[in-house]
């Protein structure tokens, strides 16, 4: 089975970081980390999306083009403490991204290695949902990984 970079990062955050950064839905209820969608009825959650990657030239030996995929993390929080909660949780994700280095782990029967997750800037305040006044923060990154 193959996985997307967003799924890799979801598993990394929820199962490889200690203590976990978020939880794996559907069981996890504290900062559930979704992939490619954000349920409307969950006020406090994270979603990771696959985005356009970056080309890093070609492999000198094989000629294969090297593309490193991109991800975007969206953090949603509500209530009076929403913004601070989103920032605090976002900074945990930032810290988790910054420390990962050649980490090998299994998802199901697939062994993957995340060499690095390279942030493309800092946590960005994207705005507030007009309907429910929930704040959204985002974080973009490039994933350097193999085996997925």
């Amino acid at each position: 089975m193959s996985y997307s970079p967003a799924q890799l990062v979801q598993h990394y955050l929820t199962e490889q970081v200690s203590p976990p950064v978020g939880s794996l839905p559907p069981q996890g209820v504290v900062w559930p980390v979704y992939v490619s969608s954000m349920p409307q009825d969950v006020d406090q959650c994270v979603a990771i999306y696959d985005t356009k990657g970056m080309t890093y030239g070609r492999n000198m030996r094989t000629g294969e083009k090297v593309v490193r995929p991109g991800i975007m993390v969206r953090i949603r929080a509500a209530g009076p403490e929403g913004p601070q909660g989103a920032i605090d949780f976002g900074m945990l994700i930032v810290a988790a991204f910054d420390v990962v280095k050649n980490l090998t782990f299994s998802i199901g029967n697939t062994e993957v290695t995340i060499a690095a997750i390279s942030r493309q800037g800092n946590l960005v305040f994207a705005g507030e949902e007009p309907e429910r006044q929930r704040v959204i923060y985002t974080l973009d990154a490039i994933v350097i990984a193999t085996g997925y």
């Binding site: 999306y49 356009k52 991109g70 975007m72 960005v124 994207a126 705005g127 959204i136 985002t138 973009d140």
Partner: protein, 139 residues
């Protein structure tokens, strides 16, 4: 030896002098590529796209940016994958478009309208070529 040093100094000074122009020219290419896919509704977002630069000489930094008082939502649109744009918008709101309640969008419009062209190999290559051209490194 002195003639060589003089040549290098003159050569470097010429490059430094043209560097800001090269940076701005390259940024304009990125802006143009971005404007092809930026979502247009009121056109405020499209029109807020601009090139800014700071610094001088070979420390010049050119920036492509969107958002102003009218288009305060620029970051929101750029970072929101849940909204439909372009061809998907036209399909979803075909009935409203037919009744004249909204207008059809350009099919290629999408979120990440600045990040994606910035990561596009063809755009990067065009920018590099333009920088080289302005600096006089190609014919």
């Amino acid at each position: 030896m002195q003639a060589t040093l003089r040549y290098i100094t003159t050569y470097s000074a010429k490059k430094v002098k043209h560097f800001p122009h090269a940076m701005v020219a390259a940024a304009k290419i990125l802006l143009r590529a971005s404007r092809k896919i930026v979502p247009i509704d009121t056109k405020a977002l499209y029109e807020s796209g601009r090139v800014e630069y700071s610094g001088a000489g070979n420390k010049t930094i050119a920036t492509v940016t969107y958002g102003d008082e009218k288009a305060y939502y620029a970051v929101w649109v750029h970072q929101d994958p849940t909204k439909v744009h372009g061809a998907a918008f036209n399909q979803k709101y075909a009935a409203e478009i037919a009744r004249g309640l909204t207008h059809p969008r350009r099919p290629e419009e999408r979120y990440k309208f600045l990040e994606e062209p910035a990561r596009d190999e063809a755009v990067q290559s065009e920018m590099a070529t333009e920088i080289a051209r302005v600096l006089g490194e190609t014919t």
